[in-house]
């Protein structure tokens, strides 16, 4: 399939969703990598989903404000608990977070055991449906993210405390937009690709990796007509590796 102007118009919301997600996830991902708590993304995403499923089972809420609020509430509680665990058991934090992930995933399966759409909900939450994103969703998420980014860059000295508030909010919203896999990729892969970069260039390079991955991912997904979310996830490591190798090369040249 070719990229006609019409097709570009149809893909625009998906591309902007990617940029919005990357805007918070690239800096947050670098923090996650620094702290060595990679599982926190999967755990928070899963716990937020558990919150949405809880609202679905108890209040019959499907999408809508109630399920988002319930997801946010669950994610923020989890963020609070993780912050507390970091204080009392810093050595085993990653192990505890990993356990929280499987626990919440299994609770979700049990809650959905009698739900005919259960399997589909789970699948959609994981792989995401980035092409279905609406402009309204983008505006709401964009506004919240602007607030989060302001907090993050304005109060840099308080990152250790802010992290457990900002991270759950950012991840809860991004999972609704693009799914768990793409959220994980947007957090971790730009951070990995830029580990060799100097501090002042790391953020910009991370943003560049994300923007290029979404661009090429959407183009390849259109050409090949494959589901967009998984294609973008597969493009991410390729772009990140190119950045990493390029940096390596430059360093070697400088030494010579």
């Amino acid at each position: 399939m070719t990229l006609s102007p019409e097709m570009l118009g149809l893909l625009a919301p998906a591309f902007i969703a990617g940029l919005i997600v990357a805007s918070t996830h690239v800096p947050l991902g670098q923090e996650v990598l620094k702290r060595g708590i990679i599982f926190i993304d999967l755990a928070i995403a899963q716990i937020a989903a558990l919150g949405a499923i809880f609202a679905h089972v108890i209040f019959f809420a499907d999408g809508g404000i109630l399920s988002v609020l319930s997801a946010l509430f669950f994610a923020l509680c989890a963020g609070g608990i993780f912050a507390w665990l970091e204080k009392i058991a810093p050595k085993h934090l990653e192990a505890l977070i990993g356990s929280a992930f499987v626990l919440s995933a299994c609770l979700a399966i049990l809650l959905l055991a009698n739900d005919p759409h259960g399997g589909q909900h789970m699948q959609e939450m994981l792989a995401g449906q980035i092409l279905w994103v609406s402009w309204q969703q983008l505006v709401i998420t964009g506004l919240v993210y602007a607030g989060l980014l302001f907090l993050w860059f304005r109060f840099q000295q308080h990152h250790s405390k802010l992290f457990y508030f900002i991270f759950p909010v950012a991840v809860t919203l991004s999972v609704q937009l693009v799914g768990v896999y793409l959220v994980f990729a947007s957090l971790i892969i730009p951070a990995l690709g830029t580990i060799k970069f100097q501090d002042n260039k790391r953020l910009l390079s991370g943003y560049l990796i994300a923007a290029l991955s979404f661009t090429f991912g959407l183009v390849i997904s259109t050409w090949s007509d494959l589901p967009s979310g998984p294609v973008i996830v597969c493009v991410y490591p390729v772009i990140a590796l190119l950045f990493f190798l390029n940096k390596n090369e430059m360093q070697r040249e400088n030494i010579n």
């Binding site: 399939m1 006609s4 019409e6 097709m7 149809l10 893909l11 019959f60 009698n114 739900d115 005919p116 759409h117 399997g119 589909q120 699948q123 792989a127 449906q129 980035i130 092409l131 279905w132 609406s134 959407l218 997904s221 259109t222 007509d225 494959l226 589901p227 967009s228």
Partner: protein, 302 residues
């Protein structure tokens, strides 16, 4: 002078070309059976996009770019309706559908709106599982429904593209006479199937069994849409003992594990019926689907 007339001829061609190209109607068919019917009635005058294959469960769809592109240029959206596609069609329509294919327009054709539906519910609640309150949407498996839907389709094609009314009319009548003959033959072959008992995975087969006078004695799903559970399968195993069951019917998009499990323990053969075009190696046309279904069923019930 020669140059001048050549110029006029070229200009004439240029004017004619776009209107000739425009004549093709773009049909967005949710499933292979409606794509096939569109080609039967529309012939070369339609361009058909098929959103799913026989091996995909049309309840669930992954968002891929071609879906958006096909919906954007569609002149006719042709699906089963009765909320079979409710998980993705409304959002796709909202995102990419033009004004001429919105609900309740000429370009919006839901096959199940035009036939007598089975299993219509007066009262539905969430405890009942994945129920279609509007009735069972798998309407294409009663062959008597097909010409009724074909007639509506030809009407719609006529309203979209009046220039080719004769072609649609001719295609419809030749399809109908071919189809009536085929039905007579199938009903003769299927007479022996009357009163036979089958187990199904999901209620995908209600129209077929209703047509042939067969009985569905059990579903592998404990409730519609819920995957089979061990407890349900165990209770099926008990309740089926001593009953005469001829086959377990599975569609290509259904998980066969549970059917094979039951088949192994009861010696009831599990039949992979084509369900729609592309559902088995030989099911290339609508007619093949019924031909193949009939031969498999009659073979299983000696």
């Amino acid at each position: 002078m020669r140059f001048f007339s050549l110029l006029i001829a070229v200009a004439g061609l240029l004017c004619a070309a776009p209107s000739g190209a425009f004549a093709k109607i773009n049909v967005f068919a949710c499933t292979p059976e409606w794509a096939a019917l569109s080609k039967e009635i529309g012939g070369d005058l339609v361009d058909v996009y098929t959103a799913t294959t026989a091996h995909q469960d049309v309840h669930h769809m992954r968002a891929k770019p071609s879906l958006l592109a096909a919906m954007r240029k569609a002149d006719l959206v042709f699906c089963s309706g009765a909320s079979l596609e409710s998980g993705w069609l409304p959002i796709l329509l909202q995102k990419a559908g033009g004004p001429n294919v919105q609900q309740n327009t000429i370009g919006w054709l839901m096959a199940s709106d035009f036939v007598q539906k089975l299993e219509v519910m007066e009262h539905v609640d969430r405890s009942m599982g994945h129920i279609h309150p509007e009735g069972n949407p798998h309407v294409h498996l009663n062959p008597h429904n097909i010409p009724v839907i074909a007639e509506v389709l030809s009407e719609r094609l006529f309203l979209i593209d009046m220039n080719n009314a004769d072609a649609y009319e001719a295609n419809l009548s030749s399809f109908k006479s071919k189809w009536e003959k085929a039905i007579a033959e199938w009903e003769e072959r299927g007479a022996a199937l009357k009163g036979r008992n089958v187990v199904v995975y999901h209620k995908s087969w209600s129209y077929l069994t209703d047509w042939l006078g067969m009985n569905i004695v059990a579903s592998l799903e404990p409730k519609p849409g819920l995957p089979p559970t061990t407890a349900h399968l165990e209770s099926l195993l008990q309740s089926l003992k001593g009953k005469e069951i001829d086959a377990i019917l599975i569609a290509p998009f259904e998980n066969e594990d549970a059917a094979l499990w039951l088949s192994e323990r009861t010696d009831i053969p599990a039949l992979h019926l084509p369900y729609t075009i592309g559902g088995s190696d030989n099911a290339d046309t609508l007619k093949d689907v019924f031909d193949e279904t009939l031969s498999m069923l009659t073979k299983a019930t000696p």
